[in-house]
């Protein structure tokens, strides 16, 4: 029996130490995921640190991260395990006059098994964080596959029998909510919705991620980004993009986020032409107001 975190406060502190600033809800849920040994489903807009949370848990607990990146068309052979077909062929050819029965038993053994992330995570004896990234991108069939793994932490291989987890991994699933996951998967998971952080926390994140950014610049930047998010853009700027923006400004040695600087670097945070136009119009109005006084 392993413990991941001692308490929500412990979770918050250790995540903070490993460079992830978690709020109460995130820390509590991360603690519960460890304490109840339940998978954690993290949902939210792109770039709010869903994947980063899994990495931070791995760093904070000294566990190894096993990652399964999901995409359309992902199947059992890529997610779970696969028989090394070519090697099996060689083995059969090399068998010579050995009886078929014997060869048959030989080629379905450990040696010919290629383990993929899900099986790897379950068979590891050390502490493991299993990250199933962008689970909403997969087909519905893969969800069925995940069910067995997530509820019982075991995998059934017809030729070898059932492999159970020696030590339960800390499972994090992330989703951008491009599609509703099935109720069955949701029921087995703890759910955490990550959203854009408030200004104070975002500033803290920017300052901790970007060395050399001035406090005042960070505050201005966070304020502008918060304003951009209010604008109903096609793609609202994410935390990752505010961090990128701060890096850009530091690299260009800009210390004041005036209209000119915003205009020149807005491409870092907004990636649609129509969004940029809209944002510039809105920000110009705001700055003109500031100058008038």
């Amino acid at each position: 029996m392993t413990t991941w975190f001692d308490s929500p406060a412990d979770a918050a502190k250790r995540l903070h130490d490993s460079g992830y600033l978690a709020d109460t809800a995130t820390a509590t849920t991360a603690y519960l995921a460890g304490a109840l040994e339940k998978p954690l489903l993290v949902e939210g807009p792109a770039g709010v640190g869903k994947t980063e949370l899994a990495k931070a848990v791995a760093r904070a607990t000294g566990a190894e991260l096993v990652r399964l990146q999901c995409y359309e068309g992902l199947d059992e052979a890529r997610a779970l395990y696969e028989w090394n077909y070519k090697k099996q062929l060689l083995r059969i050819q090399a068998a010579g006059d050995q009886s078929w029965e014997q060869t048959h038993d030989d080629i379905f053994t450990e040696e010919f098994l290629l383990t993929r992330p899900l099986l790897t995570a379950i068979r590891r004896e050390e502490q493991t964080v299993l990250l199933v990234d962008e689970v909403d991108k997969t087909d519905v069939e893969v969800e069925g596959l995940l069910l067995e793994v997530l509820s019982d932490f075991q995998v059934t291989i017809p030729e070898m029998g059932t492999v159970s987890a020696v030590r339960r991994p800390f499972v994090v699933l992330t989703s951008n909510a491009t599609r509703e996951l099935s109720e069955a998967v949701k029921r087995r998971c703890l759910f955490l919705h990550l959203d854009y952080p408030d200004a104070a926390r975002e500033k803290e994140i920017v300052v901790s991620q970007v060395p050399g950014v001035a406090d005042r610049l960070a505050a201005e930047l966070v304020e502008t980004v918060a304003r951009l998010r209010e604008l109903e853009l096609k793609k609202a700027p994410s935390i990752a993009e505010s961090v990128d923006w701060a890096r850009t400004l530091v690299a260009l040695e800009v210390d004041d986020l005036d209209e000119e600087a915003v205009g020149a670097t807005l491409g870092v945070v907004l990636k649609h032409a129509s969004d940029q136009d809209k944002a510039l119009a809105a920000l110009r109005g705001h700055q003109a107001g500031a100058r008038r006084r």
Partner: protein
Amino acid sequence: MALLDRHIAFVEALRAAGLPVSLSEDLDAVEAVTQLGLADREALRAGLAATLVKREGHRTSFDALFDLWFPPLLGAGVGGHGAPPEDEDDRTAEQVAQVLRTEVEALRQELSQALQDEDADRLRELTQEAVGRFGAMPGRGQGLSSWSSYNALQRIDPDTVVLRLARALMAGSDDRRPLSEELAMRTATRRVEGWRRQVEGEVRRRVAEEKGAEHVARTTVRPSVDRIPFTAARRGEIEEMRRQIYPLARRLASRLAKEQHARRRGPLDFRRTVRASVSTGGVPLTTHHRPRRPHRTELVVLCDVSGSVANFAAFTLLLVYALQEQFSKVRAFTFVDDVAEVTGEFRAGADPEETLTRLTESARHASLWGRTDYGRALREFRSRFGDAVGPRSSLLVLGDARSNYTDPRLDVLRDLADRARHAWWLNPEATAQWDTGDSAASQYGEVVPMVECRNLAQLTAFVHDIV
């Protein structure tokens, strides 16, 4: 009430509010509470949310119910702002009013200061004070008194506080930069709005304490956004729904793409199949297929934009246009008693807010006398835009079929429906209300299939089915 009973009642209330909480999730929640303990209310909230709420749209309902079942304090709290004593008779009415005015003024002053400093603790105290002092509603007898957020807010008049706060923000202070006028107003409005919600929550809490949480949950907790009827939505909720449209369309589009992918397997892709068979020693274990060309519908939307159903029409149009790539062509017409084409108002990637404003303006073009007249509108539509409906197009009529007792002109609709490939009628009223008053729902329903479509959930389901 024992803790377990309270927990079970809470889960019951969640289910009543439309959250699908299964038994296993309930058990998880109990275990989470055991692990977390009850010392930290926010941790408890997070723990219960993680185990019980699996959809972000349900979070608002959850929070409202959590505040009712696990209130932050009991009674008037330690500070003790109960209802004011009522027997101070030796003063004249004038004097009482005078005292009250100064009290209100002092509270406003403190409130705008606390909002300016964003002092959460002080704000909570002020919320309790405001409700305790000014929110009491005299009851008819002992124990029947109640609380009202309307009373409290009326006295304090949040708009004054917004102005005062905005002025303070524009002036700036020692450690804060002054803000521009527009930004200050925006910030002030947002903060006061947040405080107003606190007051409403506090009133709910006090009422729940006196009358039981179940009572309050039944009467005040609103359903989640996708279940709010279009015709009964409040202003804030309409905004919330508008924000939901694009994510909804995106989800719907990706679901459709996936389903079409799975459903439509075209002819064998010989090259890819042979290429894939090389890795299995020349045996084609898996076959590959070319995708089949998707069939796309041409859609003609005819919508009633008279006051009562304008919201519904607007949302449907927005959703249809957000899904534009699923259709080969979309034409939209609005009517009240005359018809106007609004196809040009929708452009790919346009701002939904602007589109809605333009749409409301177009309602003026669509009305001569401003009284809904379905018969006339249908006739006009057939004579002026009749060629829009052809054998390749699907006709979608949106409206409540309330035609002010005029001739419904079923023959015109029948003619249009016959010309089109498919025809549907979406009605934003509950089925129970059809045919009441001036509604001609079932008469039209006999000509084209009529579907009840009261909220975003039903709308999504319908759009999914027709594509």
